[in-house]
Symmetry: C2
Subunit: 260 residues, 2 copies
């Protein structure tokens, strides 16, 4: 199975993109709602949680892992790759590739949680590919609670987005990476705030699904280890009504979450 | 020692009130930053975490426990009292007593996290004391992230407060319980929004400290089991810069947090 983990249900944007692009494979999802959010926690804590989550997915039959949480991908990818002997994908590298490929001015913006921005991982990966590019980052810790509150399109959300995005807008960026799996839910408001034809938004959930699709095309041996069928499983470590509501909003249909 | 636990550092408002009123006793504080926040988690998860936290404090010499987290107090107080053989105080009962005593109109407002409001505990306790009183509750899940972001006095915070508080204002409440330990940090903005002479704010951190003071006066045998000295200890299950900053804001001085 394709194993996907996130700190909560935001990573279901990744599950949904994988389901859309690779409907023939079975997905197993793990959302660590009992310890969510990761973005405000220490790197040490996030690494430990990521190891726990990966062990859970492998124990339940995953043969490929996607780290669908930017905070976890920022600080734990290398450690997970050293520790576990399966292909491990994460939401950062594919988003960086898309941003670099689509920027003309060489000015790229990144928004994410405190943990993601603090890690400096996007800047580092962009500079590895294009040393001359300029990267402007902004931690936006209020956006996850806003999405979880269901305030997708409210006046308050627009005002907070303006506060976070104005400094990036002034830097004339032409690509903006949505560096948190919750942010695609705010895509319309973010696009509106940045100007429609001025800035391309990079949605890492779509990019990582495209990367996995390409990988499986090129590695049929790995693809063969994955189970077929559309009985995807969604596990969570805690169950709340808010989480059920966000899952429904992401998929546009009811999703049966199972508490473990 | 006086043991105090909270989901994070917000409960330090309680520790500070205890330190001010009872400077002769030693405090041991435990902030469960590794699993914070509690307010958006299920009751089941919060109960388990509360048991863990109490065991930690008792294991480190606490002889009296204060549940400084409203979400935990709402769902776990009775279970902790059954399970542990020490006096257990919590932030809800003293706040209810103060609110009931100070309301003239009999219209009382409660603000808190989703978990606290969902529990209905304030309404239940107020009605036990004054069956004719009317209780109006509002879950305010954005306020904790706003405080943790340090947005105490921003335009965005005022706007969100207005959104949450307007329905309560329309109910002509004359007492408003700040049902979350983070909220005293927003006291000025909340008071301004509710009207200065119209609504009395009830700060549960002060009320629980007063209740403990009275209890120790009346129970010298328990008071004697508590250690004297001013070497208070502040333990956290995860360490972040944001937490250190909030702790400093609450105490007005540097607080040495120790990670366990």
């Amino acid at each position: 199975m394709i194993g996907i983990f996130d700190s909560g249900v935001g990573g279901m944007t990744v599950a949904r993109a994988v389901e859309t692009l690779l409907p023939e494979y079975q997905i197993i999802y793990y959302g660590d709602l009992a310890r969510t959010p990761y973005g405000s926690k220490s790197s040490e804590a996030i690494i430990q949680y990521s190891i726990d989550n990966t062990e859970f997915l492998l124990g339940h039959g995953a043969r490929v892992i996607i780290i669908a949480c930017n905070s976890a991908a920022s600080v734990a990818s290398d450690i997970l790759r050293q520790k576990f002997d399966v292909p491990i994908f994460e939401v950062i590298t594919p988003a960086v590739e898309r941003a670099v490929a689509s920027s003309v001015t060489g000015n790229i913006g990144i928004i994410g949680t405190r943990a993601t921005i603090r890690s400096g991982i996007y800047e580092q990966k962009i500079k590895q590919q294009e040393p001359g590019f300029r990267v402007f980052s902004e931690a936006c810790p209020m956006l996850v609670p806003l999405v979880e509150e269901g305030w997708i399109d409210t006046r308050e959300t627009k005002m907070i987005l303006r506060k976070y995005l104005t400094p990036l807008k002034q830097k004339q960026i032409d690509a903006l990476v949505l560096g948190c799996t919750h942010y695609p839910l705010l895509k319309d408001s973010i696009q509106h705030c940045m100007g429609k034809n001025r800035t391309r938004l990079v949605d890492s959930s779509i990019e990582v699904a495209l990367t996995l699709q390409k990988y499986l095309d090129e590695n049929p041996v790995v693809a063969e280890t994955l189970q077929h069928g559309n009985v995807n499983k969604y596990f969570v470590s805690d169950m709340t009504q808010a989480a059920v509501a966000i899952a429904e909003k992401i998929f546009g249909r009811h999703i049966a979450l199972e508490k473990v």
